[in-house]
Symmetry: C2
Subunit: 436 residues, 2 copies
């Protein structure tokens, strides 16, 4: 089929009429499908049911050093959980704190502490006139929500297939002392699926921020979330690279098992330098006596070691891969060559990022919703929920069953076509011209 922009007004009008007919048939299906959030599917959750069997009343709930995991204490987590998550994050267990069920919560708390008490003895951010964060876009809405909540000004930085625009990052961070952080999802980024190149990681590690309390918030959410066994991205490990570059305290690195076992019932972790660890733990002792060690033990006993965890992740991949491939195939089949949108082809993570013609994303999501398919709200991938181009839509293929996903994606593609055709006709009308 011809690209829409190359059609005559008559051709495009005819196409639009036909699309709307098809849309009506979808409306009759009374759909109720959800592609809005990066939730594992029921089938994926079932993979971890063995987690419920590894601890029983016959078990000794002591960890390897003899500590009774049932009682209070151990602020930084049990050693074997640090080893497991250290292996997963490619960090020394000694550089790790194991937290509760949510790495998002750890990130929030890290920003909250910086606001009220400052980073490693520096002025609390809350006492400064202006605090800014760099936000690679498109990015993760919950990151942006945290910085917005704390009144931190967010500066969008374009995310390329190599990672954030490092010329811009360097320029801003080196010049502006009020820039205190940057949100990064370095591997299989939310929502593009892009992984940072070696060059990007090296440049991050060599930043010379104007602010001594600048920190990279390195959300390694999808570190082991590959879709393929042999086609995988591998990043330079950031903490080690920072250390080599003489910048050991530059990074807070976050991870969790939320999309490995049960979201909400997993364990989260922070890896960082000894100086940062000391700064954090001394404050953490005020906040809590310790996190859920029994659940830490449960995870360790379930996986055994990092190999067990990787075998488990392969099962996730086997469920997710067909979903990603189907979405990409439908988009290719339905709108490939029409010149009305582009999308990423991730080899890991939880999302596909779609970019429509300018000014169409909101209308596309609305069309989907009217027909019973819920997408992530357009704009969500930008700070303050405002996509200045109104182009980006995050596709979350993980949760719906394959057949539902097929229908939802077809409706999504149909909505893209309708909204794009309408836009092109409108633009042509405004220009007072007929296309071609």
């Amino acid at each position: 089929m011809k690209a829409y922009a190359e059609m005559t007004r008559e051709e495009l009008t005819a196409e639009l009429a036909q699309l709307k007919e098809t849309y009506k048939s979808y409306q009759k299906m009374d759909l109720n499908l959800d592609m809005s959030r990066g939730k594992p599917s029921v089938e994926q959750l079932d993979l971890s049911m063995g987690l419920m069997d590894v601890l029983s009343s016959d078990c000794d709930l002591a960890c390897e050093d003899g500590t009774d995991c049932r009682n209070y204490g151990v602020i930084d987590g049990v050693q074997e959980a640090k080893v497991l998550l250290g292996d997963m994050m490619e960090n020394n267990p000694d550089n790790i704190i194991i937290f509760g069920n949510s790495s998002l919560n750890v990130m929030y708390d890290t920003v909250a502490r910086a606001m009220t008490h400052g980073v490693m003895g520096n002025t609390p951010w809350g006492k400064l006139d202006k605090v800014k964060f760099l936000c690679p876009v498109p990015g993760y809405d919950r990151h942006f929500a945290i910085t917005e909540y704390f009144g931190i000004e967010m500066i969008p930085v374009p995310l390329t297939p190599e990672g954030p625009d490092m010329d811009m990052v360097e320029k801003l961070v080196h010049e502006d002392e009020s820039i205190k952080g940057i949100w990064c999802v370095p591997k299989y980024s939310n929502p593009t699926g892009y992984s940072y190149s070696d060059q990007t990681v090296r440049r991050f590690a060599r930043l010379k921020p104007a602010a001594h309390d600048f920190r990279i918030f390195w959300d390694n959410a999808y570190g082991v979330h590959h879709l393929y066994e042999h086609k995988q991205d591998h990043l330079i490990e950031i903490l080690m690279e920072c250390k080599r570059a003489g910048n050991p305290d530059l990074v807070y690195k976050f991870s969790s098992t939320s999309k490995i076992t049960f979201p909400g019932s997993g364990i989260a972790a922070l890896a960082t330098s000894p100086n940062n660890l000391e700064d954090i733990i001394s404050q953490l002792r005020i906040q809590t006596i310790g996190h859920d060690k029994v659940n830490q033990l449960r995870h360790v006993r379930y996986f055994g070691d990092i190999h067990g965890l990787m075998v488990h992740m392969k099962k996730h991949a086997d469920i997710l891969r067909p979903k990603f491939e189907m979405v990409e195939k439908i988009l290719e089949d339905e709108i490939g060559g029409l010149g009305i949108g582009e999308w990423t082809k991730p080899i890991g993570g939880y999302f596909i990022s779609f970019d429509s013609l300018p000014g169409c994303a909101k209308a596309i999501v609305k069309r989907c919703k009217k027909c019973g398919v819920k997408m992530t709200p357009a704009g969500a991938t930008w700070p303050y929920g405002k996509d200045p181009f109104d182009t980006n839509i995050r596709i979350a293929p993980s949760y719906p069953p394959l057949e539902d996903l097929r229908i939802a994606t077809k409706l999504f593609a149909l909505s893209i076509k309708i909204v794009s055709a309408e836009k092109l006709l409108r633009d042509a009308g405004k220009a007072g011209a007929i296309i071609t």
Copy 2:
């Protein structure tokens, strides 16, 4: 035996010499005992091992409304957990949020939010020149650590057997707008074991604080932690009393299962008014996607209902009661009538509060430590760790096995006697007089 103050110098000197001989025999025992923290004993932890069996890979992990507890979501907790903890806290489940593993963490977060964002739209406490909290003394060191951490000035208020000195509380709270909160452990208080009288609760509910954003931090840590089946304290439920008094938003009420199942692997809860709930939940959504629902389900299925939980608490009581009774008996046998100390006789909770002669507490704790028995540091029960009278010592009888506790308490009593005798002799020396 005669009260020490009534002995002649010779009598007291002879007594002291004999006590020191006995102390030497304890030193030879190479003790390593811990009466410092309110930790459940191994025997108590064993009571909850069935918690590890109620969920298995054969179970449906959906809660009653059909929500899959394994996945993301449900910010305020699963309904049946709200019902169970609502029954435990004597609150409507609709007024409850279920959190993660630590009510201390919930209290910290509540203060942290007030610092950065204020209470229900009021000025953030962090933006005010001065913020103060009332701290009934003796009280809980971890409460005081939170307010100290946030730079909140702490004002000690005497705790009587009826509760805090309400004349003082009312006067201060009614007059001083910078007073934003008060720490309360209303039932079986830490460390005295005192429970607030009906009159005290009524007066709390009728406070007319100068500050609109004043909140009572009502830490109901020991609500169901009775030592006896028929000798129990019963308090007027504070939220309902506040509502009746036209002060519905005055209280944050905290609780958890930390000393019911496994400390660190339980569930925590906050009960408060709909206005406060809305204020908190809207902010909580930024911090996390939800807490550990599988663990909520585990607790609900383990106990079944509040009756199941109460039956369980009776087993705890059966283990704790002999420990409390033994400590009290040893203190009575060893120092009763000597006029060198007073102690509380709680019928619930986790602590006994001991008051020495003025200026002796630190020395007593030090003497215990030198002999291998760890007590809570003297001063810990006061804001900033500073007991101006140096009299109060918290006794935590729960953790050591009965036989260890017997030895530790005897050593404690011995240390009291030695330090008191030394003090009285010193005082007599200073006065240049011989006693009698």
